[in-house]
């Protein structure tokens, strides 16, 4: 009985500490979301917990802001395009690595993993010069291509555990029936691994959605993405925190929906290939 009381007491204390830590940790995110609904004058009054006169005015302003509108539109288009391309190309490559044995297989697979970890600043200067020469700087196509550079290697490694877990029997049966490898891949294999493809698509989209440096250097006016538009809102000594936070909150919506909806795959998602198993 005594031991039981002690256990309950420890649990309660731990629960209290845990929730306190959680509240402090999430405060910066909370204040961002709340500021989107507060009037700038209240934000600037320095009362971080005051919640009076809430308004959606910042949202109205930011949604009417042509720069932010364009950024959102571009972010969605670029995100979807680069996700589609990366998942298709990445799934094919991942299948090639998972199902075939060839001499340079290991080195190739590990090179993809290393490519995923290269710093963007090391590539962006060359990409800037290349894109300028090709005339694709500040185009949706150009920045999409740049985003595939991190998403393709990422998808390959994210999918490998899903792919190696599939029994070869399905494909073998279809091959015996005379189907080609490509046919088997698209018609038999991809439907089986659909859940993995969804996970890969979600995280690839988020990679693109959150990306800043490539967009900063490789886009300007026409193809700028939402993070660039938000950076523009912060500007020098601006005091329109309400709009910045409203815009930020809008960007957060897909991130948090996907993150909380994909609990099971989070570790795989952010470490793709970097962690055993």
């Amino acid at each position: 009985m005594k031991k039981r009381t002690r256990t309950i007491l420890t649990s309660t204390i731990i629960a209290i500490v845990a929730f306190l830590v959680l509240i402090i940790e999430l405060y910066p995110i909370g204040i961002t979301i709340v500021n989107g609904f507060r009037r700038d004058i209240i934000i600037l009054s320095g009362q971080p917990f005051k919640l009076s006169q809430l308004t959606t005015r910042s949202y109205e302003l930011v949604l009417k802001n042509p720069g932010f509108q364009l950024g959102m539109k571009n972010s969605i288009i670029i995100g979807l395009l680069s996700t589609g391309i990366s998942v298709l190309i990445g799934a094919m490559a991942s299948y090639g690595i998972a199902r075939f044995r060839f001499g340079w297989r290991n080195s190739l697979a590990y090179s993809f993993l290393v490519f995923r970890m290269l710093p963007q600043i090391s590539l962006v200067i060359a990409l800037y010069l290349m894109f300028t020469n090709l005339g694709i700087r500040d185009t949706v196509g150009g920045i999409t291509l740049a985003h595939t550079s991190f998403n393709v290697p990422y998808v390959i490694w994210l999918l490998l555990p899903f792919f190696t877990a599939v029994d070869k029997a399905y494909e073998e049966a279809a091959m015996v029936d005379g189907a080609s490898r490509m046919g088997v891949f698209f018609r038999i294999f991809l439907p089986i691994v659909a859940p993995g493809l969804v996970v890969a698509a979600v995280f690839a989209f988020l990679n693109s959605w959150n990306e800043f440096l490539y967009a900063l250097i490789l886009t300007g006016v026409k193809a700028k993405t939402a993070p660039i538009a938000i950076n523009g809102l912060i500007g020098g000594e601006t005091l329109t925190w309400g709009q910045v936070c409203a815009a930020g909150t809008l960007m957060l919506v897909p991130v948090f929906i996907f993150t909380l909806g994909m609990q099971k795959f989070l570790i795989r998602g952010i470490t793709a290939g970097g962690v055993k198993g």
Binding site: S11, I14, V17, A18, V21, L22, E25, P28, I29, I31, T32, I43, L44, M92, A93, R99, F112, L113, V114, F115, M117, L118, P119, Q120, I121, S122, L123, I125, A126, L129, M130, A146, T148, S149, V152, I156, L160, T164, A165, K168, S180, R181, N210, F212, L213, L216, I217, I234, G248, M251, L252, V255, T259, L260, Q263, L266, I267, G274, V275, K276
Partner: protein, 313 residues
């Protein structure tokens, strides 16, 4: 991997379809290889070439001059380069150990069931997925003089107000705090996963032997978690080496050059000072550093073999 000849499903490819099959892995890999060549390998080779030139950004090809290793030698004489390298290493050596410590403590604390434990564990991860530029923006707001929440708190506690981002030392501390805030839950996530994978019997066995909390930690938990800890540190180092957007949004490297981390200085060399050749030599330097850490991680984990063992193939 001994045979160079293509073998499918562990059996030699049949003769009848042999030819078509031999091209199969290549066909599957071709699109990815094309992309990798176009946006990764070619830019790297191009950077290497550019790094041997005096290459002004916005002037014509006529202004470019081959300088060999001149840019690299120039870097060693550039105090701003050493400054950015120093700041970058300091950032890594301060932020990551603290993240590890906090993450480990939280993993130990939350590795038990209590009311709302699952909720706490999931919500704790939100900062990891918070957009880096929003993290920079939020912290810039939090640290504002007069109305920033942190200063409001300090004032309430009777402490003097700090112009965090206006002072070189506090600005540097601030970008580190920002990183710790965002990434310690990442450490927590990996270490918690590692902790739950430790067989309960091993911990119970230690308890039966009369081991207290610290003894259990030292003789069972830490030894078994070491691989996970090393992986987590490597992943964080690789990530921290390329920190850019959060700091760019928060301080743009200032005041002065006090938060000018490596990639921020590379960015300034290229697009501020317009010295693309110089910037490319910095890019190559960082690239090599990153590849070294990435290869260490890859060698250590060798995930491909583990995957196959798991799949029974």
């Amino acid at each position: 991997m001994s045979s160079k000849k293509l073998v499918t499903d562990g059996r030699p490819a049949r003769n009848k379809e042999g030819k078509a099959r031999e091209h199969a892995p290549f066909l599957f890999l071709l699109p990815a290889l094309l992309v990798v060549f176009a946006v990764l390998i070619f830019p790297i080779i191009f950077s290497l070439i550019v790094s041997t030139f005096d290459w002004p950004l916005s002037e014509g090809a006529g202004a470019r001059r081959f300088v060999g290793l001149g840019n690299y030698i120039g870097l060693t004489k550039d105090p701003e380069f050493w400054n950015s390298l120093k700041l970058q290493l300091g950032f890594i050596f301060v932020a990551i150990p603290l993240e590890l410590l906090l993450g480990f403590a939280a993993a130990l604390l939350l590795n038990r069931e209590f009311f709302g434990a699952r909720l706490v564990r999931s919500l704790l991860l939100l900062p990891v997925f918070f957009l880096p530029i929003l993290s920079g923006m939020t912290w810039r707001f939090m640290l504002q003089p007069r109305y920033g929440p942190l200063n409001a708190l300090l004032l309430k506690l009777g402490a003097p107000e700090i112009t965090w981002l206006g002072n070189p030392v506090t600005a540097y501390i601030a970008i580190i705090i920002q990183d710790i805030w965002r990434m310690w839950p990442f450490m927590f996530m990996l270490l918690y996963a590692g902790l739950t994978a430790i067989p309960q019997e091993m911990i119970e066995a230690a308890e039966i032997d009369g081991a207290g909390f610290w003894k259990k930690l030292r003789s069972v938990i830490i030894p078994l978690l070491t691989p996970t800890i090393l992986t987590a540190i490597l992943l964080r180092i690789i990530d921290a080496l390329r920190v850019f957007s959060e700091v760019y949004v928060m301080t743009e490297g200032g005041p002065g050059t006090s938060t000018m981390l490596f990639s921020l200085y590379t960015h300034r060399q290229a697009f501020g000072y317009q010295k693309v050749g110089m910037a490319s030599s910095m890019a190559i330097f960082l690239l090599i550093l990153s590849i070294v850490f990435a290869l260490t991680l890859v060698r250590k984990n060798m995930s491909l073999d583990v995957l196959e063992e798991k799949a029974g193939g």
